[in-house]
Amino acid sequence: MKFKLKIWRQDSAKSKGGMKRYEIDQVSENTSFLEMLDILNEQLVNSGEEPVAFDSDCREGICGTCSLTINGEAHGPSHPAAACQLYMRQFKDGETITVEPFRVRSFPIVKDLVIDRSALDRIVQAGGFVSARTGSAPEANSTPIPKHNADLAMEAAACIGCGACAAACPNASAMLFTSAKISHLAFLPQGQAERSRRVLGMVRQMDVEGFGNCTNTYECEAVCPAEISASFIAKMNREYAVASLRERMGE
């Protein structure tokens, strides 16, 4: 297959970037999108050009490292999937493909398509610790968890922290990410002790980081490679309302 590529190139965080055009030929339809970029980079290196910098790690949709906006959609046109799970057969032969970084103020560009997502780490850190028994493994079933809660917690915990939610959001809001992290522990007995403190800390850190606000367009859940539901955002809104009320009452 043959493709025309328009790729965002930016030398460093401070320099001004721009779109650059490339052409690539003889790409197998079973090539993954990231492999296609590898092939392009090989050609660039051979012709003495600087290769395109992009992030990837596991390349099987687990780690959440890849972060490309392909043809205007976070992780590309295939949902639910991370960019690494996208194959060239999903594009038309000869198609022009636009590749940009995730554009969120809180994810500053490092170089080309590589962004710094440590804002998400700081949100998680702001959640603080979980008081849990350490040491030898406890007796199985010693902490009863209803199946329904375990399922919901598991759904929320599926978040791989890639930041596609904020990238796709018209407001660059990270509420789907934050709500998944908050809900995951709020559904489980182990998360109860620090429940209020966690939601207050994480939501406030999210605002400090400069993410936007949710206007319920649900673009986030549409692109999420882990299929996190926006119902967790409603859950976070509930958790935050209760926790801030408690805080105001002096708790």
Binding site: G72, H79, E100, P170, S173, N213, Y218, S231, N237, A241
Partner: protein, 216 residues
């Protein structure tokens, strides 16, 4: 949350306002009498007006502040941006809201302060001695320009509410696998019913179904 709560109050107002307006189809005595009842509320009417004013100011102030924050959160825009499931309405809430605001100001100038048409201030009272709201509405909507802007503004209001009238549930933390899709659908139907209801009045006036009545 403030946006959601103030929005719900405004939704309740537009429902009440529509029910009041539709009385034009029942004839001058009904609508003029209704308007008189509203004015008879006296100080209570001013409490309601002040409450609505504070509510609408808060709704606009907080949404504009949020919209500014949202713009700042993405200083460099995408060269190409496609949406997967966000509706047109949900992506243009600020635009539809601000045009509706411009309309509300004109609407108040026209029918409450009556500064746009010199005839409104000197309308003779109807046979029951009430201010002739009926004639004012018919005269007002006889202008295709006024009616056109009215219908356009109501179209944008319906667009605004087709997202807003169900979206506030999510903001208040109410989301349920069964209920949420139904609320979204219900919200859209509700918004477009409002549009049909409100637009029926200028359309009826322009088509000559609702005409001036001379009373002796």
């Amino acid at each position: 949350m403030i946006v959601a709560v103030t929005g719900v109050i405004l939704i309740l107002f537009v429902i009440g306002h529509l029910l009041g307006n539709l009385q034009i189809f029942l004839g001058p005595a009904w609508i003029n009498g209704y308007a008189e009842h509203l004015r008879d509320l006296g100080p209570l009417l001013w409490v309601i007006r002040a409450f609505l004013l504070v509510d609408v100011v808060a709704h606009i102030y907080y949404t504009v502040r949020l919209a500014i924050e949202n713009r700042r959160a993405r200083p460099t825009s995408y060269r190409r941006k496609d949406t997967v499931k966000a509706t047109f309405a949900s992506r243009h809430m600020v635009m539809s809201g601000l045009i509706v605001l411009a309309f509300i100001i004109f609407h108040l100038l026209q029918f409450s302060f009556r500064t746009t048409d010199p005839r409104f201030a000197i309308l003779p009272a109807d046979p029951l001695g009430h201010y002739d709201v009926y004639t004012m509405m018919v005269l007002g909507f006889s202008s295709p320009l006024v009616s056109g802007f009215y219908i356009l503004a109501l179209f944008l209001l319906a667009l605004h509410l087709s997202h807003g009238s169900s979206s506030f549930f999510q903001s208040l933390g109410l989301n349920n696998k069964n209920l949420t899709p139904r609320l979204a659908q219900g919200g859209r139907i509700f918004a477009w019913l409002l549009f049909v209801g409100y637009s029926s009045i200028p359309v009826a006036v322009l088509l000559g179904w609702v005409t001036l009545r001379t009373h002796s």
